[in-house]
Protein backbone atom coordinates (compact mmCIF):
# COMPACT_ATOMS: atom_id res chain seq x y z
CA UNK A 1 0.00 0.00 0.00
CA UNK A 2 1.01 3.56 -0.52
CA UNK A 3 3.35 4.95 -3.09
CA UNK A 4 6.21 2.47 -3.77
CA UNK A 5 8.46 5.52 -4.05
CA UNK A 6 8.66 5.71 -0.25
CA UNK A 7 9.09 1.98 0.32
CA UNK A 8 12.78 2.30 1.18
CA UNK A 9 12.80 5.55 3.09
CA UNK A 10 13.60 8.99 1.77
CA UNK A 11 16.91 9.49 0.01
CA UNK A 12 18.16 12.16 -2.34
CA UNK A 13 16.83 10.37 -5.45
CA UNK A 14 13.41 9.99 -3.85
CA UNK A 15 13.39 13.64 -2.89
CA UNK A 16 14.28 14.66 -6.45
CA UNK A 17 11.53 12.47 -7.89
CA UNK A 18 9.04 13.95 -5.42
CA UNK A 19 10.10 17.49 -6.37
CA UNK A 20 9.86 16.69 -10.08
CA UNK A 21 6.38 15.24 -9.58
CA UNK A 22 5.20 18.29 -7.67
CA UNK A 23 6.64 20.74 -10.19
CA UNK A 24 5.24 18.83 -13.17
CA UNK A 25 1.77 18.67 -11.65
CA UNK A 26 1.99 22.33 -10.73
CA UNK A 27 2.93 23.30 -14.27
CA UNK A 28 0.32 21.04 -15.83
CA UNK A 29 -2.34 22.50 -13.55
CA UNK A 30 -1.40 26.05 -14.51
CA UNK A 31 -1.53 25.24 -18.22
CA UNK A 32 -4.78 23.33 -17.71
CA UNK A 33 -6.33 26.33 -15.98
CA UNK A 34 -5.21 28.56 -18.84
CA UNK A 35 -6.76 26.24 -21.40
CA UNK A 36 -9.86 25.76 -19.26
CA UNK A 37 -10.53 29.49 -19.09
CA UNK A 38 -10.01 29.70 -22.84
CA UNK A 39 -12.29 26.72 -23.44
CA UNK A 40 -15.01 28.07 -21.18
CA UNK A 41 -15.01 31.40 -23.01
CA UNK A 42 -14.93 29.75 -26.41
CA UNK A 43 -17.63 27.18 -25.71
CA UNK A 44 -19.93 29.68 -24.01
CA UNK A 45 -19.43 32.05 -26.93
CA UNK A 46 -20.32 29.31 -29.34
CA UNK A 47 -23.45 28.45 -27.39
CA UNK A 48 -24.44 32.11 -27.35
CA UNK A 49 -23.69 32.62 -31.02
CA UNK A 50 -20.61 34.78 -30.44
CA UNK A 51 -17.01 34.31 -31.51
CA UNK A 52 -15.21 34.67 -28.20
CA UNK A 53 -11.51 35.40 -27.73
CA UNK A 54 -9.68 35.10 -31.06
CA UNK A 55 -6.85 37.67 -31.02
CA UNK A 56 -4.08 36.44 -28.73
CA UNK A 57 -2.40 33.45 -30.33
CA UNK A 58 -3.97 30.89 -32.65
CA UNK A 59 -7.74 30.69 -31.97
CA UNK A 60 -7.22 33.03 -29.02
CA UNK A 61 -5.44 30.23 -27.14
CA UNK A 62 -3.12 32.65 -25.35
CA UNK A 63 -5.93 34.92 -24.20
CA UNK A 64 -5.77 33.77 -20.56
CA UNK A 65 -2.02 34.21 -20.52
CA UNK A 66 -2.39 37.71 -21.93
CA UNK A 67 -5.01 38.52 -19.29
CA UNK A 68 -2.74 37.18 -16.57
CA UNK A 69 0.20 39.26 -17.73
CA UNK A 70 -2.01 42.31 -17.96
CA UNK A 71 -3.15 41.85 -14.38
CA UNK A 72 0.47 41.93 -13.19
CA UNK A 73 0.66 45.50 -14.46
CA UNK A 74 -2.53 46.67 -12.77
CA UNK A 75 -2.57 48.70 -9.61
CA UNK A 76 -3.06 46.59 -6.52
CA UNK A 77 -5.42 48.44 -4.23
CA UNK A 78 -5.81 47.86 -0.54
CA UNK A 79 -9.05 49.43 0.71
CA UNK A 80 -8.41 51.69 3.68
CA UNK A 81 -11.17 49.99 5.70
CA UNK A 82 -9.64 46.58 5.09
CA UNK A 83 -8.00 44.41 7.72
CA UNK A 84 -4.58 44.48 6.14
CA UNK A 85 -3.14 41.20 7.38
CA UNK A 86 -6.23 39.08 6.70
CA UNK A 87 -6.84 40.80 3.37
CA UNK A 88 -3.38 39.76 2.24
CA UNK A 89 -3.67 36.28 3.75
CA UNK A 90 -6.97 35.31 2.08
CA UNK A 91 -5.60 34.67 -1.45
CA UNK A 92 -3.09 32.18 0.01
CA UNK A 93 -5.87 30.39 1.86
CA UNK A 94 -7.79 30.02 -1.38
CA UNK A 95 -4.93 29.17 -3.71
CA UNK A 96 -2.88 26.71 -1.65
CA UNK A 97 -5.77 24.28 -0.96
CA UNK A 98 -6.63 24.43 -4.67
CA UNK A 99 -3.16 23.11 -5.49
CA UNK A 100 -3.18 20.65 -2.61
CA UNK A 101 -6.41 18.84 -3.39
CA UNK A 102 -5.06 17.78 -6.77
CA UNK A 103 -2.13 16.00 -5.12
CA UNK A 104 -4.29 13.06 -4.04
CA UNK A 105 -5.74 12.45 -7.51
CA UNK A 106 -4.32 9.34 -9.21
CA UNK A 107 -3.38 10.43 -12.71
CA UNK A 108 -1.99 7.18 -14.07
CA UNK A 109 -0.55 3.80 -13.15
CA UNK A 110 2.86 3.00 -11.70
CA UNK A 111 6.03 3.65 -13.68
CA UNK A 112 9.67 2.68 -13.16
CA UNK A 113 12.42 5.15 -13.92
CA UNK A 114 16.06 4.35 -13.09
CA UNK A 115 15.09 1.57 -10.63
CA UNK A 116 12.74 3.85 -8.76
CA UNK A 117 9.17 2.65 -9.07
CA UNK A 118 6.57 5.27 -8.31
CA UNK A 119 2.90 6.01 -8.88
CA UNK A 120 1.73 8.69 -11.24
CA UNK A 121 0.12 10.58 -8.42
CA UNK A 122 1.70 13.30 -6.35
CA UNK A 123 0.85 11.81 -2.98
CA UNK A 124 -1.14 8.87 -1.73
CA UNK A 125 -1.75 9.45 1.97
CA UNK A 126 -3.64 6.63 3.71
CA UNK A 127 -6.47 9.04 4.56
CA UNK A 128 -6.71 10.77 1.18
CA UNK A 129 -10.49 11.19 1.34
CA UNK A 130 -10.33 12.93 4.71
CA UNK A 131 -7.59 15.12 3.28
CA UNK A 132 -9.95 16.08 0.46
CA UNK A 133 -12.78 16.97 2.85
CA UNK A 134 -10.44 18.86 5.17
CA UNK A 135 -9.02 20.96 2.38
CA UNK A 136 -12.38 21.78 0.91
CA UNK A 137 -13.26 23.06 4.40
CA UNK A 138 -10.09 25.13 4.53
CA UNK A 139 -10.90 26.79 1.24
CA UNK A 140 -14.10 28.09 2.84
CA UNK A 141 -11.82 30.20 5.04
CA UNK A 142 -10.34 31.80 1.96
CA UNK A 143 -13.61 33.21 0.68
CA UNK A 144 -14.93 33.91 4.20
CA UNK A 145 -11.89 35.91 5.29
CA UNK A 146 -11.53 37.65 1.92
CA UNK A 147 -15.03 39.05 2.22
CA UNK A 148 -14.84 39.79 5.92
CA UNK A 149 -11.52 41.62 5.73
CA UNK A 150 -12.53 43.86 2.83
CA UNK A 151 -14.40 46.25 5.09
CA UNK A 152 -17.14 46.72 2.57
CA UNK A 153 -20.70 45.52 2.60
CA UNK A 154 -20.99 43.58 -0.64
CA UNK A 155 -17.97 41.39 -0.05
CA UNK A 156 -19.15 40.76 3.50
CA UNK A 157 -22.59 39.62 2.38
CA UNK A 158 -21.05 37.61 -0.43
CA UNK A 159 -18.67 35.83 1.88
CA UNK A 160 -21.37 35.04 4.44
CA UNK A 161 -23.45 33.57 1.68
CA UNK A 162 -20.49 31.69 0.29
CA UNK A 163 -19.57 30.11 3.57
CA UNK A 164 -23.15 29.10 4.38
CA UNK A 165 -23.52 27.61 0.92
CA UNK A 166 -20.21 25.80 0.99
CA UNK A 167 -20.62 24.25 4.42
CA UNK A 168 -24.20 23.22 3.61
CA UNK A 169 -23.19 21.30 0.53
CA UNK A 170 -20.07 19.95 2.16
CA UNK A 171 -22.29 17.82 4.40
CA UNK A 172 -24.07 16.32 1.40
CA UNK A 173 -20.74 15.83 -0.35
CA UNK A 174 -19.23 14.04 2.63
CA UNK A 175 -22.19 11.64 2.82
CA UNK A 176 -21.91 10.87 -0.89
CA UNK A 177 -18.20 10.15 -0.55
CA UNK A 178 -18.93 7.92 2.44
CA UNK A 179 -20.94 5.66 0.11
CA UNK A 180 -17.85 5.15 -2.07
CA UNK A 181 -15.72 4.47 1.00
CA UNK A 182 -18.31 1.92 2.13
CA UNK A 183 -18.00 0.07 -1.18
CA UNK A 184 -14.22 0.15 -1.42
CA UNK A 185 -13.24 -0.13 2.31
CA UNK A 186 -10.45 2.41 2.07
CA UNK A 187 -9.68 6.09 2.37
CA UNK A 188 -6.74 6.03 -0.01
CA UNK A 189 -7.59 7.36 -3.45
CA UNK A 190 -5.26 4.96 -5.20
CA UNK A 191 -6.84 1.98 -3.45
CA UNK A 192 -10.29 3.31 -4.41
CA UNK A 193 -9.24 3.46 -8.03
CA UNK A 194 -7.68 0.00 -7.79
CA UNK A 195 -10.91 -1.41 -6.36
CA UNK A 196 -12.82 -0.03 -9.34
CA UNK A 197 -10.42 -1.26 -12.01
CA UNK A 198 -11.84 -4.76 -12.56
CA UNK A 199 -14.46 -3.70 -15.10
CA UNK A 200 -16.87 -0.89 -15.86
CA UNK A 201 -19.37 -2.61 -13.58
CA UNK A 202 -17.00 -2.05 -10.67
CA UNK A 203 -16.91 1.71 -11.15
CA UNK A 204 -18.18 3.63 -8.16
CA UNK A 205 -21.05 5.16 -10.06
CA UNK A 206 -22.58 1.70 -10.63
CA UNK A 207 -21.47 0.09 -7.37
CA UNK A 208 -23.11 2.83 -5.29
CA UNK A 209 -26.16 3.07 -7.51
CA UNK A 210 -25.76 6.43 -9.28
CA UNK A 211 -27.48 8.45 -6.51
CA UNK A 212 -24.29 9.27 -4.53
CA UNK A 213 -22.66 10.34 -7.77
CA UNK A 214 -25.51 12.71 -8.61
CA UNK A 215 -25.46 14.12 -5.07
CA UNK A 216 -21.71 14.54 -5.21
CA UNK A 217 -21.96 16.24 -8.56
CA UNK A 218 -24.58 18.75 -7.43
CA UNK A 219 -22.72 19.33 -4.17
CA UNK A 220 -19.42 19.81 -5.98
CA UNK A 221 -21.01 22.33 -8.32
CA UNK A 222 -22.33 24.24 -5.33
CA UNK A 223 -18.99 23.94 -3.56
CA UNK A 224 -17.29 25.48 -6.58
CA UNK A 225 -19.81 28.32 -6.74
CA UNK A 226 -20.42 27.43 -10.36
CA UNK A 227 -23.70 28.22 -12.05
CA UNK A 228 -26.50 27.51 -11.26
CA UNK A 229 -25.15 27.86 -7.69
CA UNK A 230 -23.12 31.03 -8.22
CA UNK A 231 -25.18 33.14 -5.81
CA UNK A 232 -21.94 34.11 -4.18
CA UNK A 233 -21.24 36.47 -7.03
CA UNK A 234 -24.79 37.36 -7.99
CA UNK A 235 -23.96 40.57 -9.83
CA UNK A 236 -27.38 42.14 -9.37
CA UNK A 237 -27.19 41.83 -5.60
CA UNK A 238 -23.58 41.58 -4.57
CA UNK A 239 -21.44 43.11 -7.32
CA UNK A 240 -18.57 40.60 -7.49
CA UNK A 241 -19.18 38.71 -4.26
CA UNK A 242 -16.37 38.17 -1.78
CA UNK A 243 -13.63 39.41 -4.09
CA UNK A 244 -15.25 42.72 -5.02
CA UNK A 245 -12.48 44.70 -3.34
CA UNK A 246 -9.67 42.62 -4.79
CA UNK A 247 -7.87 43.92 -7.82
CA UNK A 248 -4.78 43.16 -9.85
CA UNK A 249 -2.89 39.94 -9.15
CA UNK A 250 -4.79 39.22 -5.94
CA UNK A 251 -7.97 38.96 -7.97
CA UNK A 252 -6.16 36.83 -10.54
CA UNK A 253 -5.18 34.35 -7.84
CA UNK A 254 -8.80 33.97 -6.74
CA UNK A 255 -9.78 33.42 -10.33
CA UNK A 256 -6.98 30.91 -10.81
CA UNK A 257 -8.04 29.01 -7.69
CA UNK A 258 -11.64 28.94 -8.84
CA UNK A 259 -10.79 27.29 -12.14
CA UNK A 260 -8.24 25.01 -10.56
CA UNK A 261 -10.86 23.81 -8.10
CA UNK A 262 -13.13 23.09 -11.03
CA UNK A 263 -10.50 20.90 -12.67
CA UNK A 264 -9.72 19.21 -9.37
CA UNK A 265 -13.36 18.48 -8.58
CA UNK A 266 -13.87 16.95 -12.03
CA UNK A 267 -10.77 14.83 -11.43
CA UNK A 268 -12.07 13.79 -7.98
CA UNK A 269 -15.39 12.76 -9.50
CA UNK A 270 -13.55 10.67 -12.07
CA UNK A 271 -11.47 9.12 -9.27
CA UNK A 272 -14.34 8.30 -6.95
CA UNK A 273 -17.02 7.26 -9.40
CA UNK A 274 -15.49 6.52 -12.80
CA UNK A 275 -12.45 4.42 -12.04
CA UNK A 276 -9.90 7.21 -12.39
CA UNK A 277 -7.28 6.22 -14.98
CA UNK A 278 -9.02 2.89 -15.57
CA UNK A 279 -9.70 1.93 -19.18
CA UNK A 280 -8.50 -0.41 -21.90
CA UNK A 281 -4.76 -0.10 -22.51
CA UNK A 282 -2.44 -1.34 -25.26
CA UNK A 283 1.07 -2.71 -25.32
CA UNK A 284 2.39 0.32 -27.11
CA UNK A 285 3.50 2.80 -24.44
CA UNK A 286 1.47 1.14 -21.67
CA UNK A 287 1.86 4.01 -19.18
CA UNK A 288 0.30 6.59 -21.52
CA UNK A 289 -3.16 5.06 -21.83
CA UNK A 290 -4.27 5.46 -18.19
CA UNK A 291 -3.29 9.12 -18.35
CA UNK A 292 -5.26 9.58 -21.55
CA UNK A 293 -8.30 7.89 -20.02
CA UNK A 294 -8.03 10.06 -16.94
CA UNK A 295 -7.70 13.27 -18.96
CA UNK A 296 -10.54 12.25 -21.27
CA UNK A 297 -12.96 11.51 -18.44
CA UNK A 298 -12.04 14.71 -16.64
CA UNK A 299 -12.54 16.67 -19.84
CA UNK A 300 -16.10 15.36 -20.16
CA UNK A 301 -16.97 16.77 -16.74
CA UNK A 302 -15.27 20.07 -17.47
CA UNK A 303 -17.29 20.40 -20.65
CA UNK A 304 -20.48 19.60 -18.76
CA UNK A 305 -19.69 22.35 -16.23
CA UNK A 306 -19.47 24.85 -19.06
CA UNK A 307 -22.59 23.49 -20.67
CA UNK A 308 -24.52 23.80 -17.39
CA UNK A 309 -23.37 27.39 -17.05
CA UNK A 310 -24.74 28.22 -20.48
CA UNK A 311 -27.99 26.34 -19.93
CA UNK A 312 -29.23 27.00 -16.41
CA UNK A 313 -30.31 30.21 -14.65
CA UNK A 314 -29.17 30.97 -11.11
CA UNK A 315 -31.09 29.59 -8.13
CA UNK A 316 -32.67 31.75 -5.46
CA UNK A 317 -30.98 31.60 -2.06
CA UNK A 318 -33.85 29.87 -0.28
CA UNK A 319 -34.08 27.31 -3.08
CA UNK A 320 -30.38 26.68 -2.73
CA UNK A 321 -30.57 26.08 1.02
CA UNK A 322 -33.73 23.97 0.69
CA UNK A 323 -32.11 21.78 -1.95
CA UNK A 324 -29.01 21.27 0.14
CA UNK A 325 -30.51 20.71 3.58
CA UNK A 326 -33.95 19.29 2.97
CA UNK A 327 -33.30 17.16 -0.10
CA UNK A 328 -29.67 16.25 -0.68
CA UNK A 329 -28.52 15.62 2.90
CA UNK A 330 -31.43 13.35 3.92
CA UNK A 331 -31.27 11.58 0.55
CA UNK A 332 -27.53 10.99 0.85
CA UNK A 333 -27.85 9.72 4.41
CA UNK A 334 -30.78 7.42 3.56
CA UNK A 335 -29.02 6.04 0.50
CA UNK A 336 -25.88 5.32 2.49
CA UNK A 337 -27.89 3.36 5.06
CA UNK A 338 -29.71 1.43 2.33
CA UNK A 339 -26.44 0.45 0.63
CA UNK A 340 -25.01 -0.63 3.96
CA UNK A 341 -28.11 -2.69 4.79
CA UNK A 342 -28.11 -4.46 1.42
CA UNK A 343 -24.49 -5.41 1.99
CA UNK A 344 -25.54 -7.23 5.17
CA UNK A 345 -28.42 -9.09 3.57
CA UNK A 346 -31.61 -8.53 1.57
CA UNK A 347 -33.99 -8.68 4.53
CA UNK A 348 -32.12 -5.88 6.28
CA UNK A 349 -31.95 -4.06 2.97
CA UNK A 350 -35.67 -3.96 2.37
CA UNK A 351 -36.37 -3.22 6.03
CA UNK A 352 -34.05 -0.21 6.00
CA UNK A 353 -35.49 0.85 2.64
CA UNK A 354 -38.99 0.84 4.14
CA UNK A 355 -37.66 2.71 7.17
CA UNK A 356 -36.16 5.35 4.90
CA UNK A 357 -39.47 5.81 3.11
CA UNK A 358 -41.17 6.36 6.47
CA UNK A 359 -38.44 8.80 7.43
CA UNK A 360 -38.96 10.67 4.15
CA UNK A 361 -42.66 10.99 4.93
CA UNK A 362 -41.80 12.29 8.41
CA UNK A 363 -39.38 14.77 6.88
CA UNK A 364 -41.98 16.02 4.40
CA UNK A 365 -44.44 16.53 7.25
CA UNK A 366 -41.84 18.38 9.33
CA UNK A 367 -41.05 20.70 6.42
CA UNK A 368 -44.73 21.62 6.18
CA UNK A 369 -45.01 22.11 9.94
CA UNK A 370 -41.89 24.28 9.91
CA UNK A 371 -43.22 26.53 7.19
CA UNK A 372 -46.54 26.94 8.95
CA UNK A 373 -44.88 27.73 12.28
CA UNK A 374 -42.64 30.29 10.73
CA UNK A 375 -45.57 31.98 9.10
CA UNK A 376 -47.50 32.16 12.37
CA UNK A 377 -44.41 33.55 14.07
CA UNK A 378 -44.00 36.11 11.33
CA UNK A 379 -47.56 37.29 11.71
CA UNK A 380 -47.17 37.85 15.44
CA UNK A 381 -43.76 39.53 15.36
CA UNK A 382 -41.98 42.28 13.53
CA UNK A 383 -42.47 41.26 9.94
CA UNK A 384 -46.13 40.50 10.64
CA UNK A 385 -46.64 43.90 12.28
CA UNK A 386 -45.19 45.61 9.27
CA UNK A 387 -47.43 43.61 7.00
CA UNK A 388 -50.50 44.41 9.12
CA UNK A 389 -49.62 48.10 9.14
CA UNK A 390 -49.39 48.00 5.36
CA UNK A 391 -52.77 46.34 5.25
CA UNK A 392 -54.26 49.08 7.49
CA UNK A 393 -52.91 51.76 5.18
CA UNK A 394 -54.42 49.96 2.24
CA UNK A 395 -57.77 49.66 4.03
CA UNK A 396 -57.80 53.34 5.00
CA UNK A 397 -56.98 54.39 1.47
CA UNK A 398 -59.80 52.23 0.18
CA UNK A 399 -62.24 53.68 2.71
CA UNK A 400 -61.19 57.21 1.84
CA UNK A 401 -61.64 56.54 -1.84
CA UNK A 402 -65.09 55.06 -1.39
CA UNK A 403 -66.12 58.05 0.78
CA UNK A 404 -64.86 60.36 -1.89
CA UNK A 405 -66.87 58.41 -4.44
CA UNK A 406 -69.98 58.71 -2.24
CA UNK A 407 -69.52 62.48 -1.85
CA UNK A 408 -69.21 62.89 -5.57
Amino acid sequence: MGDPLFAHGVGLAVLIIAIVKVVVVFAVLMVAVMLMIWMERKVISDMQNRIGPNRAGPFGLLQSLADGIKLFFKEDLLPDKADRVVFRLAPYLTLVPAFLIFTIVPIGGAVDIAHHAFDLQVADPPMGILFLLALSSVSVYGSMLAGWSSGSKYPLLGSVRASAQMISYEAAMGLAVAAVVLEDHTLSTRAIVAAQSASVLHWGVIQTGIVPFLIFWVAATAELNRPPFDLVEGEQELVGGFHTEYSSIRFALFYLAEFMNMITMSAIMVTLFFGGPDGPGFHFLPWVWPILWFVGKTFVFLYIYIWIRAALPRLRYDQLMDLGWKRLIPLALGWLLIIAAFRVDDVWGFAVFAGCLLAAAALGQSIRVGQRRRQIEAETTGEGRAARAAKQVQLRALAARSEEGGAR
Binding site: F6, V10, I19, K21, V22, F26, F72, E75, D76, L77, L78, P79, D80, K81, V96, F99, L100, V122, A123, D124, P125, F131, L133, S152, K153, P155, L156, S163, A164, I167, S168, E170, G174, L175, V181, H185, T186, L187, I249, R250, A252, L253, D318, M321, I329, L333, L337, R343, S366, I367, V369, G370, R373, R374, A378, A387, A390, K391, L398, R401
Partner: protein, 151 residues
Protein backbone atom coordinates in the same frame (compact mmCIF):
# COMPACT_ATOMS: atom_id res chain seq x y z
CA UNK B 1 8.44 7.60 10.63
CA UNK B 2 7.84 5.71 7.37
CA UNK B 3 4.13 6.43 7.40
CA UNK B 4 4.67 10.17 7.24
CA UNK B 5 6.94 9.91 4.20
CA UNK B 6 3.97 9.89 1.86
CA UNK B 7 3.13 13.41 3.02
CA UNK B 8 6.42 14.76 1.70
CA UNK B 9 5.04 15.71 -1.74
CA UNK B 10 2.07 17.40 -0.08
CA UNK B 11 4.44 19.45 2.01
CA UNK B 12 6.43 20.33 -1.12
CA UNK B 13 3.21 21.39 -2.82
CA UNK B 14 2.31 23.67 0.11
CA UNK B 15 5.71 25.32 -0.17
CA UNK B 16 5.42 25.66 -3.94
CA UNK B 17 1.93 27.15 -3.69
CA UNK B 18 2.98 29.70 -1.10
CA UNK B 19 6.11 30.61 -3.04
CA UNK B 20 4.10 31.01 -6.24
CA UNK B 21 1.58 33.31 -4.59
CA UNK B 22 4.30 35.30 -2.82
CA UNK B 23 6.32 35.72 -6.03
CA UNK B 24 3.20 36.88 -7.83
CA UNK B 25 2.70 39.57 -5.22
CA UNK B 26 6.31 40.63 -5.43
CA UNK B 27 6.14 40.79 -9.24
CA UNK B 28 2.95 42.80 -9.03
CA UNK B 29 4.59 45.17 -6.57
CA UNK B 30 7.52 45.70 -8.94
CA UNK B 31 5.52 45.99 -12.16
CA UNK B 32 2.30 47.70 -11.18
CA UNK B 33 1.89 51.42 -10.59
CA UNK B 34 0.94 52.52 -7.11
CA UNK B 35 -0.93 55.81 -6.99
CA UNK B 36 -3.61 55.45 -4.34
CA UNK B 37 -6.22 58.12 -3.91
CA UNK B 38 -8.99 58.42 -1.36
CA UNK B 39 -11.60 57.48 -3.93
CA UNK B 40 -9.73 54.37 -5.01
CA UNK B 41 -9.34 53.15 -1.46
CA UNK B 42 -12.92 53.78 -0.44
CA UNK B 43 -15.20 50.75 -0.14
CA UNK B 44 -16.93 49.85 -3.37
CA UNK B 45 -20.36 51.44 -3.51
CA UNK B 46 -21.32 51.61 -7.18
CA UNK B 47 -19.73 55.03 -7.62
CA UNK B 48 -21.54 56.67 -4.72
CA UNK B 49 -19.65 58.04 -1.73
CA UNK B 50 -20.48 55.57 1.05
CA UNK B 51 -22.45 57.16 3.87
CA UNK B 52 -22.58 54.25 6.34
CA UNK B 53 -19.91 52.11 7.89
CA UNK B 54 -20.23 48.49 6.82
CA UNK B 55 -22.44 46.98 9.47
CA UNK B 56 -20.83 43.60 10.14
CA UNK B 57 -24.27 42.31 11.02
CA UNK B 58 -26.04 39.68 9.04
CA UNK B 59 -29.14 37.53 9.50
CA UNK B 60 -29.00 35.16 12.46
CA UNK B 61 -29.97 32.31 10.17
CA UNK B 62 -26.41 32.12 8.92
CA UNK B 63 -25.24 31.35 12.46
CA UNK B 64 -27.95 28.70 12.71
CA UNK B 65 -26.68 27.05 9.56
CA UNK B 66 -23.16 27.05 10.93
CA UNK B 67 -24.30 25.37 14.15
CA UNK B 68 -26.43 22.77 12.40
CA UNK B 69 -23.53 22.06 10.08
CA UNK B 70 -21.39 21.11 13.05
CA UNK B 71 -23.86 18.34 13.95
CA UNK B 72 -23.67 16.94 10.46
CA UNK B 73 -19.95 17.33 10.13
CA UNK B 74 -19.42 15.34 13.30
CA UNK B 75 -21.78 12.69 11.98
CA UNK B 76 -19.87 12.50 8.71
CA UNK B 77 -16.51 12.25 10.42
CA UNK B 78 -17.92 9.39 12.46
CA UNK B 79 -19.21 7.71 9.29
CA UNK B 80 -15.85 7.45 7.54
CA UNK B 81 -14.07 5.06 9.93
CA UNK B 82 -17.30 3.12 10.16
CA UNK B 83 -17.50 2.85 6.36
CA UNK B 84 -13.91 1.61 6.13
CA UNK B 85 -14.40 -1.25 8.59
CA UNK B 86 -18.03 -1.99 7.74
CA UNK B 87 -17.03 -5.19 5.90
CA UNK B 88 -15.96 -6.70 9.24
CA UNK B 89 -18.79 -5.36 11.35
CA UNK B 90 -21.81 -6.65 9.37
CA UNK B 91 -25.08 -6.65 11.34
CA UNK B 92 -23.56 -5.10 14.43
CA UNK B 93 -22.20 -2.18 12.41
CA UNK B 94 -25.49 -1.71 10.64
CA UNK B 95 -27.53 -1.62 13.85
CA UNK B 96 -25.05 0.78 15.41
CA UNK B 97 -25.24 3.18 12.51
CA UNK B 98 -29.04 2.92 12.29
CA UNK B 99 -29.34 3.95 15.93
CA UNK B 100 -26.89 6.77 15.38
CA UNK B 101 -28.58 7.94 12.17
CA UNK B 102 -31.98 7.78 13.85
CA UNK B 103 -30.75 10.02 16.66
CA UNK B 104 -29.35 12.55 14.21
CA UNK B 105 -32.42 12.34 12.01
CA UNK B 106 -34.83 12.99 14.89
CA UNK B 107 -32.94 16.14 15.84
CA UNK B 108 -32.86 17.14 12.18
CA UNK B 109 -36.63 16.71 11.89
CA UNK B 110 -37.03 18.75 15.09
CA UNK B 111 -34.93 21.57 13.60
CA UNK B 112 -36.82 21.57 10.34
CA UNK B 113 -40.22 21.46 12.00
CA UNK B 114 -39.15 24.54 13.96
CA UNK B 115 -38.44 26.31 10.70
CA UNK B 116 -34.75 26.60 11.51
CA UNK B 117 -33.73 26.06 7.90
CA UNK B 118 -36.45 28.04 6.17
CA UNK B 119 -35.03 30.84 4.11
CA UNK B 120 -37.96 31.65 1.93
CA UNK B 121 -39.57 35.06 1.99
CA UNK B 122 -42.69 35.36 4.11
CA UNK B 123 -45.87 34.72 2.28
CA UNK B 124 -46.90 38.10 1.02
CA UNK B 125 -49.94 39.84 2.42
CA UNK B 126 -52.72 39.32 -0.06
CA UNK B 127 -53.68 42.63 -1.70
CA UNK B 128 -57.21 43.54 -0.77
CA UNK B 129 -59.57 42.71 -3.57
CA UNK B 130 -61.25 45.91 -4.70
CA UNK B 131 -64.71 45.70 -6.10
CA UNK B 132 -64.22 48.91 -8.02
CA UNK B 133 -63.93 48.62 -11.74
CA UNK B 134 -60.35 49.22 -12.75
CA UNK B 135 -60.25 52.06 -15.24
CA UNK B 136 -57.63 54.63 -16.14
CA UNK B 137 -59.24 57.10 -13.73
CA UNK B 138 -58.84 54.73 -10.77
CA UNK B 139 -55.40 53.32 -11.51
CA UNK B 140 -53.52 56.25 -13.06
CA UNK B 141 -52.76 59.09 -10.71
CA UNK B 142 -52.47 62.36 -12.54
CA UNK B 143 -49.83 64.72 -11.28
CA UNK B 144 -49.62 68.40 -12.16
CA UNK B 145 -51.56 71.64 -11.86
CA UNK B 146 -54.70 70.26 -13.53
CA UNK B 147 -54.98 67.20 -11.27
CA UNK B 148 -56.27 69.23 -8.31
CA UNK B 149 -53.71 67.89 -5.79
CA UNK B 150 -50.38 69.25 -4.79
CA UNK B 151 -47.78 67.74 -7.07
Amino acid sequence: MGSLDSYLPIFLMIVLGIVFAALSFVASKLLAPYRPTAAKEAPYECGIVPTHEPTYRFPVRFYLVAMIFIIFDIEIIFLFPWAVVFGQLHTFGLVEILVFAAAVFVSFVYLISNGALDWGPMKRVQPIATDEVRTTSTTVRRVGPSSGEAA
